[in-house]
């Protein structure tokens, strides 16, 4: 699919297959083209080039109402003067999704509200239920429509942190139980990891990588994907390959280079949670630095450690005795240190492997 707005290409030759019953998450920053992708699938915008097919049937020229696709937008409202039951019934009574008998409607509402855990609230008005229950009702309005595919556009983004985590779990339970095919758009990497069967990372209208959460986390195709998952984000530092060794941070990191890695500039990626203070990791290396800032995150603490001529961000358990201004020894397992191609500051570059092993062949993006 390709969609242009004037001279701006919003999505650029996107190719993807979503399997039957799959929960497919599109992850990307704002402006990447996530919503345009959903609208193109739903038929709410006309694509310039490409096609959309469901069950092998080309729907590119089919009107949105007849695509059998249900879409929920970022902000969805409920009718304040209708009960939960009436709110859920209205999409079925509109006639746009075919005609349903009263029994069918009631049955459909019961099934969906049981899954959502709001079947005891059917006769209440939106103002009489909690915020979380209102969100579930709104979601129910989408799920109540019989559809082959559900498209969800950041359905949790307007909730506060606590409610968002609760609703994320609810959605996961619904996805596990209902076996519906879902395309879900978000900028929140934890939502993507928690919910997805597969994640597609979108950047500037193109998929950078499509894979399972484990693949995307362990083997990000490039530094953009590596940074898109994890908060605080992965440390990416400049390094040099010379004389059979990789060195970085003014020699604070100095390891043998893996076979097949040519000499020159590279970058190393170290996840904050994989740098462990005060413990020797077998098969790992030690990096010595000075704690510049220690911040409490909850049970964890986040450290900003001055190492050589740079800094590393570290997340660790707060029981570790670390003091601002004091030296700290960080350990990290060699396979956990990612190697990326060298690049100018601000530019992203391909992952070549880890400092233990670089891949002989550069992987192609699934297209």
């Amino acid at each position: 699919m390709t969609k242009k707005y004037g001279s701006v290409t919003a999505i650029d030759h996107l190719d993807f297959d979503v399997h039957d019953g799959e929960f497919f998450v599109i992850l990307g920053p704002s402006g990447a083209g996530k919503t345009t992708t959903l609208k193109s699938v739903a038929g709410l915008v006309d694509i310039e080039d490409g096609s959309v097919a469901v069950n092998g049937v080309d729907l590119t020229m089919v009107e949105p109402y007849h695509r059998n696709i249900a879409m929920a937008f970022e902000s969805y409202a409920l009718y304040p003067n209708k009960t939960v039951r009436q709110n859920l019934a209205s999409p079925l009574k509109s006639g746009r999704t075919g005609h349903h008998t009263a029994e069918e409607i009631e049955q459909r509402i019961l099934t969906v509200t049981r899954t959502l855990g709001i079947d005891h609230l059917l006769d209440r008005y939106p103002r009489e239920v909690s915020n979380g229950q209102r969100q579930r009702t709104a979601l129910g309005r989408v799920l109540v429509r019989p559809a082959e595919i559900y498209l969800l556009d950041e359905p949790l983004s307007h909730l506060d942190a606590k409610l968002r985590a609760t609703m994320r779990a609810e959605l996961k339970a619904i996805a596990q139980n209902s076996n519906t095919t879902t395309i879900y758009v978000t900028h929140d990497y934890q939502e993507a990891l928690a919910l997805a069967d597969r994640i597609a990372v979108l950047r500037h209208g193109k998929f950078v990588q499509i894979g399972t959460p484990v693949e995307i986390w362990r083997e990000p195709i490039d530094s953009f994907v590596a940074k898109a998952l994890g908060q605080p984000e992965i440390n990416v530092i400049d390094a040099v390959v010379a004389n059979g060794r990789i060195t970085a941070l003014a020699g604070a990191i100095d390891v043998p280079k893996p076979d097949g890695l040519p000499e020159g500039k590279v970058r190393l990626g170290l996840r904050p949670s994989e740098l462990v203070p005060g413990v020797h990791v077998p098969g790992g290396i030690q990096i010595t630095g000075t704690v510049r800032i220690a911040e409490r995150l909850g049970r964890d603490i986040e450290l900003d450690v001055t190492v050589g001529d740079g800094h590393l961000i570290v997340v660790t358990d707060s029981s570790k005795a670390v003091t601002e201004g004091k030296d700290v020894v960080l350990s990290i397992d060699l396979p956990h240190i990612h190697v990326f191609a060298g690049a100018e500051p601000g530019e992203d570059s391909a992952r070549l492997g880890s400092v233990q092993q670089v891949s002989p062949v550069t992987k192609e993006v699934e297209q």
Binding site: A161, K162, A165, R168, A169, K172, A173, Q176, Q190, L193, A194, L195, P213, V214, W217, L229, G230, Q231, P232, E233, R271, S273, I293, E295, R296, L297, G298, R299, D300, E302, D304, S318
Partner: protein, 372 residues
């Protein structure tokens, strides 16, 4: 990297105290009724300390800040800055610098001119150099030549913050300074704000509703609810030793799990029988045998081991760790347990969790007071 320009003038920071400060918004006929937004507040802030006022909307945190700034009258009580009673002084005479959410930037001036404005008025000779250095540190060099109208809300917020910082006031008051920034930016600006605050040594009060922001920024934090400071302490104290149920529940993400329980004293041990049948040991000493309590357990402190049984609702693998939601058997309570990397649990499985005894907190179910 040199900070000589910024550090050359390090103002002696001032202590700040609130003595029985109260704010009533008068309403109703002849203003007889009223809403008590802040109730007899005492607070002592050390010179150079960074504290946050944390609480839900309507808790009185912004009203408190505005009273200190002089933007709101004080119904009763005293505010002392550097030992001087400032109740009757106008904002400009109080030695405070403010960065409020309403940005109040001069529209016809560029960002650079907005930042330099106060410095020029005071005839600081290297004003432009200071602006450039601060802009670099707050990651806003590229917006220096823009006018405020062309900026996003996040950018305006950084300009507003920079303008408060650059004047190096002895007391700095910031209202939700990072609210409009995206996650990555928020982390960088937060870090830089903390470093700048330490370099310049301003006594700083930050108002926020974001518990993570308060935890990461504060030397000490005041958790507020209903116009009252519920607890004032270091982030460690607030997180691990909450004064009451409100503080325990408001701070921490995911939120603390709360279960009903009954205390059982068994020889030297103090146990809590949790509704549904599980048992947890606690280091709480003052609980009486048979006492009904609310048991508080942080998701990060619970681990999978025999203790309290539940059915797995869902388990989310977040790669660095997992979150299991368990429906505690025999109750309608769903608890969150943080699991270690690689843990595998399926929905419907029965799992058990336990908690280190010193991490099992007890509260009075009536008033939420901590039982120690």
């Amino acid at each position: 990297m040199s900070n000589t320009v910024l550090t050359e003038r390090k103002e002696a920071a001032l202590p700040l105290s609130l003595r029985k400060v109260q704010k009533i918004y008068r309403t109703g006929p002849r203003k007889k009724g009223g809403v008590e937004a802040v109730k007899s507040m005492d607070l002592d802030i050390l010179p150079g300390e960074l504290i946050t006022l944390l609480g839900p909307s309507g808790c009185g945190k912004t009203t408190t800040l505005r009273m200190i700034a002089g933007l709101e009258t004080i119904t009763s009580g005293d505010i002392l800055i550097g030992g001087l009673r400032v109740n009757d002084l106008p904002p400009s005479k109080r030695n405070v610098g403010v960065g409020f959410e309403s940005y109040a930037l001069y529209p016809p001036l560029s960002v650079r001119e907005n930042l330099a404005y106060g410095l020029k008025a005071r005839k600081v000779n290297n004003a432009m150099q200071q602006v450039d250095e601060l802009a670099r540190r707050l990651d806003m060099t590229d917006m220096l030549d823009e006018r405020p109208a062309g900026l996003s809300s996040g950018q305006k917020q950084r300009v507003s913050l920079a303008r408060a910082l650059i004047r190096k006031p002895p007391v700095l008051l910031l209202d939700e300074p990072l609210g409009h920034l995206d996650a990555g930016q928020r982390q960088r600006v937060r870090r830089e704000l903390k470093l700048l605050q330490r370099e310049f040594g301003y006594t700083t009060i930050v108002v926020t509703h974001d518990q993570l922001e308060a935890m990461t920024l504060s030397d000490r934090m005041a958790v507020m609810d209903a116009g009252i400071i519920q607890q004032f302490g270091t982030p460690d104290e607030i997180f691990d030793d909450p004064a009451n149920l409100f503080v325990a529940d408001f701070v921490g993400e995911p939120a603390m799990n709360l279960l009903d329980g009954t205390v059982v004293r068994d020889g030297g041990k103090v146990l809590v029988k949790v509704a549904g049948g599980g048992v947890l040991e606690t280091t709480v000493t003052s609980a009486k045998d048979g006492q009904k309590v609310t048991v508080g357990v942080r998701p990060q402190d619970a681990f999978l081991a025999p203790g309290v049984k539940g059915t797995v609702f869902v388990h989310e693998d977040l790669m660095e760790y997992g979150l299991a939601r368990l429906d505690v058997l025999g109750t309608d309570k769903r608890v969150v347990v943080q699991t270690v990397e690689g843990a595998e649990l399926r929905s419907g499985d029965v799992a058990e969790f336990s908690v280190p005894p010193r991490r099992v907190h007890l509260f009075d179910p009536e008033d939420g007071a901590r039982i120690r």
